[in-house]
């Protein structure tokens, strides 16, 4: 069964199967040393531009800012949850460190 993934309202939220799952204004810790000089990026999500599913993992290309140093931009495709047996499970994004898919090599 395929899962409908889309970004709506000018990048305000990620919809998975017509349910709002991730919203702008969340704060995430990122392991993305190319983005800024902070040890862990202290990232506020300001807008989503794309969503992708790599295997079972759902990732959103996100525009935002490091609230510690002020660097802004797109750190990459950030994994926010996964698809398991056809349904979506969001990661505990407030408590884990997210690593952009691009960094996984």
């Amino acid at each position: 069964m395929s899962v409908a993934l889309r970004i709506l309202d000018d990048g305000a939220w990620l919809s998975v199967d017509d349910q709002r799952r991730v919203s702008v204004s969340e704060l995430w810790r990122l392991d993305a040393p190319e983005f800024c000089d902070c040890d862990l990026v202290d990232f506020i999500a300001e807008g989503f531009t794309e969503v992708s599913a790599d295997g079972r993992e759902v990732a959103v290309t996100t525009y935002g800012k490091c609230i510690a140093c002020g660097e802004s931009g797109v750190p990459g495709r950030l994994p926010v949850g996964r698809i398991r047996e056809g349904s979506y499970e969001g990661y505990d994004r407030q408590h884990v460190v997210l690593r952009p898919i691009e960094r996984r090599g």
């Binding site: 409908a4 889309r6 709506l8 309202d9 000018d10 990048g11 305000a12 939220w13 919809s15 199967d17 017509d18 349910q19 709002r20 919203s23 702008v24 204004s25 969340e26 704060l27 202290d42 506020i44 300001e46 807008g47 531009t49 800012k65 609230i67 510690a68 002020g70 349904s87």
Partner: protein, 589 residues
């Protein structure tokens, strides 16, 4: 590949959405198929309905479009009654209670907590009284704005008949119902620049032109303004003069050009401002002439932009607050509505005052305020003595008068911070604690919850927009602070010189900034002049955040709550979605 939104629009869009909407309303919230929620909520916008944010499922914001902000006699009462009966949510707002009306920055009306099941009854009542939500949101002609006193206050050219004709032609017009993105139009006839044309997709601005030896008054055309997405643009001059009688054809031509050439592949790039970036005004004019109008366009006429005083940095308010004479010798009285929100009872009382002292008409400004029109001179004193005017003053303190705030985390899915209640608290604190420098009577502070810029922060003296930061290790709501914005002959967008200031330190920052201004002011220089003669680095130094006696109850991440002011604000405590009677519907999973 077309976007999902374009695919949905190609299936069902425009007027026909209504029959589906009514069917769902009849059958109840749960009749909307679960896998079609996104599609239907996107479509409902065309009928003025925005699904409220996360945690408030099944509740809608409803926008009523009032062309040029004109509420005809009787209509204000209808709006008040609808707000009273239908715009009541499961919780109350500590500043505004329950059942309130928002007067918006585009001269529209917003109601919140609307239930799907009530929509047919609301539409029936609105339409029986000449009001409508059609195209109030969505990808089409939005509410047309201008100087709210068009037709009554002095004008260089009459704008209201043009606005009415455009509205009649393009509301519900199938050829213009499905545009690549929203289409915002401003038509101004008054000489002060108060239509805010510069920040609209299409602006008609007063101008004159000598044609066959005769002076003709009409409009110059500008295209591609807008504030959203961190990409503010001023509308650009396309070197076209249009006579009032040709306005429909030219505006329709430009809207058709947008329909055909706007970017439907990428919604971020869809607004016409990006097409103007890409093409330049010359190409836009050429394509318009070749493919979209049937007569020879005139080149631009002589504009009167040097006369623009509205939000031009001087001491003229231009906001129409207070008592002003109309062309016909009657008066209008502009009342300040702090952050544009008015309870249903007060709105009903406003309607009564308009009936009793004026013609019954009320008008809405782009500063979220209202005007009672057509008051005979002899009745002015009695009107000014009415108790309602104590709360909605015709002579407000500059900090109250200059406050504009968008919807924010209370209802809006894009928002990053709480806005309206916070701006109310800012304004009160500043009024109590900060003296404005000598002679400064006009001072605008606009707060937007995100970069969409609904509160138009980039054209205020102090521009505020939502951010987050950490304070003592904890994430808190914060604001970026911008300076240098304003309209007038030479409009300017603010530079964002203060970053991530914790929201409770913003009033202190404003206090310090005003003190810096007072200490370093040259002569009677205005605030805007003072800011303009400093460079970005100097301005950054002027931002000195500081804790003060101001207290902010919304420092926590209000977006993570289901409703920021609820006793138990945890997302899991949300009653939504609810049925037509407001009872929680238990989710299947």
């Amino acid at each position: 590949m077309p976007t999902d939104v374009e695919r949905w629009k190609s299936e069902v869009y425009g007027n026909e959405i209504r029959e589906h909407l009514f069917r769902f309303a009849e059958e109840g919230w749960e009749s909307i198929p679960e896998d079609e929620h996104d599609a239907w909520f996107e479509r409902f916008k065309w009928w003025g309905l925005y699904h409220q944010r996360n945690g408030q499922e099944s509740y809608f914001m409803m926008r009523i479009g009032t062309p040029n902000g004109v509420l005809e006699p009787g209509q204000t009462e209808v709006v008040a009654e609808i707000a009273d009966e239908y715009a009541r949510g499961p919780e109350t707002n500590p500043e505004f209670g329950d059942g309130y009306v928002d007067w918006t920055t585009r001269q529209s009306i917003q109601l919140h907590w609307i239930k799907l099941e009530d929509i047919p009854a609301i539409f029936e009542k609105l339409e029986a009284n000449g009001l409508s939500t059609q195209q109030a949101c969505g990808d089409s002609w939005r509410n047309i704005v201008g100087n709210p006193m068009a037709g009554k206050a002095p004008e260089f050219v009459d704008a209201l008949p043009v606005i009415e004709e455009l509205n009649e032609t393009f509301k519900g017009n199938e050829d213009h119902a499905n545009l690549p993105r929203k289409w915002k139009v401003s038509v101004t006839g008054s000489p002060d620049g108060s239509g805010q044309g510069d920040i609209n997709d299409l602006a008609l601005e007063p101008a004159s032109k000598e044609i066959d030896g005769e002076e003709v008054r009409g409009f110059n055309v500008r295209v591609g303004g807008g504030l959203s997405r961190n990409e503010p643009r001023l509308a650009r001059d396309i070197d076209v003069f249009v006579r009032p009688e040709n306005a429909v054809e030219v505006a329709g031509g430009i809207s058709a050009l947008f329909r055909e050439h706007g970017d439907r592949e990428d919604r971020y790039n869809a607004r016409i401002k990006f097409l103007v970036d890409e093409w330049g005004p010359e190409k836009l004019r050429r394509v318009l002439q070749e493919d979209f109008v049937d007569f020879e366009l005139e080149s631009a006429g002589e504009d009167i932009r040097e006369q623009y005083t509205y939000n031009a940095g001087g001491e003229e308010h231009g906001d129409l607050i207070g008592v002003h004479e109309q062309r016909d010798g009657n008066y209008y009285v502009g009342l300040n509505v702090l952050v544009g929100r008015m309870g249903a009872d007060d709105t009903l009382e406003l309607a009564r005052l308009a009936e009793e002292y004026g013609s019954g008409e009320v008008r809405i400004s782009q500063r979220q305020n209202v005007m009672i029109t057509d008051v005979p001179e002899a009745d002015l004193d009695d009107l000014l003595d009415e108790p309602l005017l104590e709360d909605y003053s015709p002579d407000p303190h500059p900090f109250m008068r200059g406050s504009v705030a968008c919807t924010g985390t209370e209802f809006c899915s894009l928002s990053i911070v709480e806005t309206k209640n916070r701006q109310v608290r800012y304004a009160r604190w500043l009024k109590e604690n900060v003296d404005l420098p000598e002679g400064v009577e006009d001072f605008h502070i606009h707060l937007s919850g995100c970069t969409a810029s609904c509160a138009q922060p980039q054209i205020a003296d102090i521009s505020l927009r939502g951010m987050k930061t950490r304070k003592d290790g904890e994430p808190v709501e914060a604001l970026d602070i911008g300076l240098g914005g304003g309209l007038g002959e030479n409009p300017q967008f603010a530079d964002w010189v203060g970053q991530r200031v914790p929201a409770d330190e913003v009033p202190g920052a404003i206090e310090n900034l005003l003190a810096t201004f007072e200490d370093n002011r040259e002569g009677s220089e205005t605030f805007r002049e003072f800011i303009a003669r400093h460079d970005e680095e100097e301005l950054e130094e002027f931002i000195e955040p500081e804790e003060t006696s101001y207290e902010d109850p919304y420092m926590h991440n209000t977006k993570m709550t289901w409703y920021p002011y609820a006793e138990d604000d945890d997302m899991d405590a949300s009653p939504a979605p609810t049925d037509g009677d407001g009872n929680s519907i238990v989710a299947d999973d």
